[in-house]
């Protein structure tokens, strides 16, 4: 056959209905998977970028040993297309005339910030401005509290070490202000090139050098690969994912996207499978004809392989043609929501799962039945023998299972996800087999009698093979869609619970013990109640079981908490959101022991009973670990790695107190009075961080809704495709029933009932399987607790019943509108 002839035969195929269904399924499959993959990919990037403002960059490299980060490293990064900036952070005295104040200085280069913005006022009482740079050389910006404390104004000069700098503005907020309760001397921002002239930094000073990097994810990763072998233990490479408050939310969002994508893959596989299977089975007559015409089995096999390949290509091209504009549209929506430009970029790698899904399911489901047909004698193909079962159908099932499993694995590479989804599907099919068996037993004796209900049940029994496979597909579709719905709602609920309205958004730190009451009184007067107050002692963990920590923990493991001073506290009751995972919380009157945060305990390999030595100022205390507890770092409340019992060794040491509270935006002016009245108390404003997180959660929520909508649309299409697989048979039956004297209303009612019952059944099964899958996912992937979701369990079977009943009604339409005579002519 010449190529043009082959193409001609493909064009002829197009007129066959089954072929149209296969091609539409392919187009839908490729389009859905591609759209979701592209969108998820894009979203991940935009989310990370929008979260990156917390670092003022995409990545930070910190050196905590007081040595600058080599310029060559930044040069290397720039040669790889990354943008860089550098920062120096240190504490020093700032003076103005006779006045001295300990401040925490951040000196930044011209490019700072690479991500996010600086909030600035050109005068103490001026308007807030948004800038994308720090102070120029010779200038300095001061925190408003410090300005008030020292009674300074813009235009005044201050001394940092030996350098005199002019105050050119008020620093309201830096993007990478972070959420660090340590070292809360008031912030001063100056230019990095001025640092040397201050003469403050000497050999051995406590100073942190930081390099900032921003650019394409791939370039960043490549750069890190280059950088990694050059790093020393005191170097720390940080991405936004390491940030405590946001990382959980981001990770969950990413996992949701992954889940959505996997579900799209499965749905697509189901759609293509149903359609191509239908096509293959419908080819019996053609294969028989070809055999009687004397075509060899090999040629028949090759012919179908060729056809399937062509359709695969056509379907993929069609799918991409649909996917790209939809993706562009979604992209523009995202840009609108984010109020910034989102580059339209199609990552070719993200398209691979879509194409693989289409091709693999096409061949895995269409080819095996055809391949088996070509070995069967023509006569047997045409007239199947009574009682002849498809003995080799199980190999098809194995091929199909392997294909689907492989596809989801290819996409997600997450064991839990694959197992949960495939396990849910398997449980569903097993239950369905049971139901099918029960149906045969229960419905065998039902007979018609002009009653729509009985006719519907008779129909279900008569069409049990088709009905069961349709119910199976509907149930699978519904399971996948409900899984996504369930995970979505619990995800959203989690997020809402994590940062509810009125989450504490201000911290008061450094409250001297004797002013605690006064501070409380100040806020009570203004109608603001403070959350729990915690004492805070700063100290380092120096010994584990009598050995220096540095020896116990190998140098490669960079344990963050060891590099810094830790916040130690004592408390009576376990905070509500903490949970003991090992050991026991302090008894009443217990004064010994320490409770350690679980992640740190794991990093250090600590167990209950280990003795920890802390150095606090010149004192050391040693306590046994009595419990290990988890902490909700993302809760934005004061959290502590180490908690001691009240009345213990810690209580004798000098402590300051910390508390948090919620202050609405319109009350913020009270802070000015507060800082004037309590100049030594540090106020940490995290309202913008919380707002930012809430905004990101909102964005992710919208994205999740969009993906859910896509998946639901795809499920509807799959269901319609499945119903249309038996369209011809159903219409033939309807036409015949009408000529035999069936009233239209009876036909309509019994068909709708039959489909409705199938729909409810599929809905029940699907939701039950979804609950099972969600149980596994929730437990292993999203770390929440499982509960039944009645609000989903109840409506979905009803909705699916109604949808199917309507689909049933819809497919009868051509049978109802014309005279039986015309129907008969069409049947001939």
């Amino acid at each position: 056959m010449s190529a043009s002839k082959k193409l001609g035969s493909v064009a002829r195929d197009w007129r066959e209905r089954d072929v149209k269904v296969v091609l539409s399924a392919l187009v839908i499959a490729v389009a859905t998977v591609a759209i979701i993959a592209l969108f998820a990919n894009q979203l991940q990037r935009t989310l990370v970028t929008s979260a990156s403002s917390f670092l003022a960059a995409d990545r930070q490299l910190e050196a905590e040993h007081g040595k600058p980060i080599p310029q060559a490293w930044r040069d290397e990064a720039e040669s790889r297309g990354l943008r860089t900036a550098r920062m120096v952070e240190f504490s020093t005295m700032l003076s103005h005339g006779e006045q001295f104040q300990l401040v925490s200085i951040k000196a930044v280069s011209d490019a700072y910030p690479l991500r996010g913005q600086v909030e600035f006022q050109s005068a103490l009482e001026g308007e807030r401005e948004i800038l994308e740079h720090g102070p120029r050389q010779g200038e300095v910006w001061l925190n408003p509290r410090l300005m008030r404390l020292l009674e300074l104004d813009v235009g005044d000069t201050v001394e940092v070490g030996t350098l005199t700098l002019r105050i050119s503005g008020v620093l309201v907020r830096e993007p990478d202000g972070g959420f660090n309760l340590a070292g809360l001397a008031p912030r001063v921002m100056m230019h990095a090139d001025d640092v040397a002239a201050t003469d403050v930094i000497q050999e051995g000073s406590r100073v942190e050098y930081i390099s900032l990097f921003a650019g394409e994810e791939e370039a960043l990763e490549n750069f890190y690969r280059w950088l990694k072998p050059r790093l020393e233990p005191s170097h720390e490479w940080e991405s936004i994912r390491d940030g405590e408050a946001l990382s959980e939310s981001l990770q969950r969002a990413e996992r949701f996207l992954l889940l959505g994508g996997s579900i799209a893959v499965l749905l697509a596989a189901v759609a293509v499978a149903v359609a191509s299977r239908q096509y293959a089975v419908g080819q019996r007559d053609t294969v028989a004809l070809l055999k009687t015409l004397g075509l060899s089995s090999t040629r028949i096999g090759r012919m179908y392989l060729w056809r399937l390949s062509i359709w695969g290509l056509v379907g993929m091209a069609g799918g991409l043609l649909v996917a790209l504009p939809v993706f562009a549209f979604l992209n523009s929506l995202v840009a609108e929501v984010l109020e910034r430009e989102v580059p339209f970029s199609v990552e070719v790698g993200a398209l691979a799962p879509a194409l693989a899904t289409a091709i693999i399911s096409l061949f895995a489901f269409a080819y095996p039945p055809i391949r088996r047909l070509r070995h069967v004698p023509a006569m047997r193909v045409l007239r199947s023998q009574p009682g002849e079962a498809d003995s080799r159908a199980w190999t098809d099932i194995v091929i199909a299972v392997v294909a689907i499993f492989g596809l989801v694995w290819l996409y997600a590479r997450e064991v839990v996800l694959v197992v949960a989804l495939i396990g849910g599907l398997a449980a569903l099919l097993a239950t369905l087999a049971l139901i099918g068996w029960l149906m045969v037993i229960a419905l065998r004796r039902v007979s018609g009698g002009g009653n729509a209900w009985r006719l519907a049940l008779v129909g279900l029994y008569r069409h049990r093979r088709a009905s069961l496979s349709q119910i199976a597909v509907f149930a699978m579709t519904l399971m996948l869609a409900s899984t996504l719905i369930l995970v979505r709602s619990s995800l959203l609920a989690d997020w809402q619970a994590q940062l509810p309205e009125q989450t504490p958004n201000h911290f008061l730190i450094n409250i001297a013990p004797k002013t605690v009451d006064e501070v409380e009184g100040f806020w009570e007067q203004r109608g603001q109640s403070l959350d729990a107050l915690y004492p805070m002692v700063r100290g380092r963990l120096t010994e584990i079981n009598g050995k220096p920590v540095r020896q116990v923990v190998s140098k490669d493991d960079s344990v963050n908490a060891l590099n810094r001073e830790l916040n130690l506290t004592w408390m009576e009751a376990l905070p509500q959101d903490n949970r003991i995972v090992e050991g026991k919380w302090f008894e009443e009157d217990q004064t010994e022991g320490v409770s350690v945060e679980a992640e740190l305990a794991a990093e250090l390999g600590l167990e209950v009973g280990d003795r920890l030595g802390f150095t606090i100022g010149s004192e050391t205390i040693t306590e046994p670990v009595t419990s290990i507890r988890t902490v909700q770092w993302e809760s934005m409340k004061p959290n502590f790695y180490m908690a001691f019992p009240p009345g213990g060794a810690l209580e004798g040491l000098p402590a300051t107190w910390i508390t948090s509270f919620y202050l609405p935006e319109d009350r913020k002016s009270a802070l000015n009075d507060f800082t004037r009245q309590f100049p030594t108390v540090s106020v940490l404003e995290v309202d913008h961080i919380i707002e930012r997180i809430q905004e990101i959660v909102r964005q992710v929520t919208q994205a999740i809704e969009a993906i859910l909508a896509l998946i639901l649309a795809a499920s509807l299409v799959v269901m319609a495709a499945v119903v249309s697989a038996t369209l011809k048979d159903r219409q033939r039956e309807g036409a015949l029933l009408r000529t035999l004297g069936g009233r239209r209303s009876l036909l309509v009612r019994s068909t709708m009932l039959e489909f409705g019952v199938a729909g409810v059944l599929a809905g029940l099964l699907g939701v039950a399987a979804a609950e099972a899958a969600v149980w596994a996912l929730q437990y292993r992937m999203f770390g929440g607790e499982f509960r039944w979701h009645w609000e989903v369990v109840l409506p979905i079977p009803l909705i699916s019943g109604v949808i199917l009943a309507l689909l049933g009604r819809w497919q009868l339409r051509p049978v109802l509108s014309v005279s039986p005579m015309l129907l008969l002519r069409r049947l001939e």
């Binding site: 199947s384 002009g450 048979d729 004297g741 069936g742 239209r744």
Partner: protein
């Protein structure tokens, strides 16, 4: 032959009375006249053959007689009911109770077994024991051992037997057959003919049959010829 039990109507009253039946179809701007002024009467229990060239309008006529379609003009009275003036659902009810069909291409539902195919018309009406009656009929047409087979597993002749069993299942007073042997070989056609005539005799059904088959036409009591949509001269045939 008449069956007094089949209805309260006067025996001499024709079961089917057709006057001036005309059927036209619109094809774009052209109007095609398929049937032109056909008038005829068929008596209860009669067997009538309709013959004519292919395309002469036989199937169209049969469909109108059976109330499967409405004529452009003229009237069909079936057992005193003005078929052409009944609503679609009234005609359906009439078909369900009084009319049986046999088609050239059998028209069995491929997904149902032989038994289920025969049960189909019984289920539409309110027959108390559809299963048993269907089984009896299949035994009568010689397929008692093929009840659970699907059409795909049956030969053409066997399929037509199932169709005949289905046609007689609801005990119709009148049976319409459109070239019932048209898709079968001579030998099988002969057997189907015999079966059809025999059942017709047994049940006292009125039979209206379109056929190309001269021997089959000859076995009917009357023979109507259609020529380009008009009824030709009528011949009496020997039964």
């Amino acid at each position: 032959m008449t069956d007094p039990a089949s209805g309260p109507e006067n025996v001499s009253e024709p079961i089917l009375k057709v006057s001036n039946l005309t059927q036209r179809v619109n094809l774009g701007n052209d109007t095609l006249t398929i049937l032109q002024g056909v008038s005829l009467e068929i008596k209860r229990g009669e067997s009538v053959a309709i013959v004519g060239r292919s395309g002469s309008g036989k199937t169209t006529l049969l469909g109108l007689l059976a109330g499967l379609d409405t004529p452009s003009d003229g009237e069909v009275m079936l057992e005193g009911n003005p078929v052409s003036r009944l609503s679609e659902d009234e005609r359906a009810a009439l078909r369900a109770r009084r009319v049986g069909f046999v088609f050239q291409s059998f028209q069995l539902l491929p997904s149902l077994t032989a038994l289920e195919n025969v049960m189909l018309p019984l289920e539409l009406g309110d027959y108390p024991d559809a299963g048993r009656r269907a089984k009896e009929l299949l035994e009568r047409v010689g397929l008692g051992d093929r009840l659970r087979h699907t059409p795909r597993q049956l030969s053409g002749g066997e399929q037509q037997r199932v169709a005949i069993a289905r046609a007689f299942a609801s005990e119709p007073v009148i049976l319409f057959a459109d070239e019932p042997t048209g898709n079968l070989d001579n030998q099988t056609g002969q057997e189907i003919q015999d079966l059809l005539m025999a059942l017709n005799q047994e049940q006292g059904t009125t039979l209206v049959m379109v056929t190309h088959d001269e021997t089959l036409a000859a076995r009917c009591e009357r023979r109507l010829t259609l020529e380009s949509g008009r009824l030709g001269k009528e011949q009496e045939a020997a039964a």
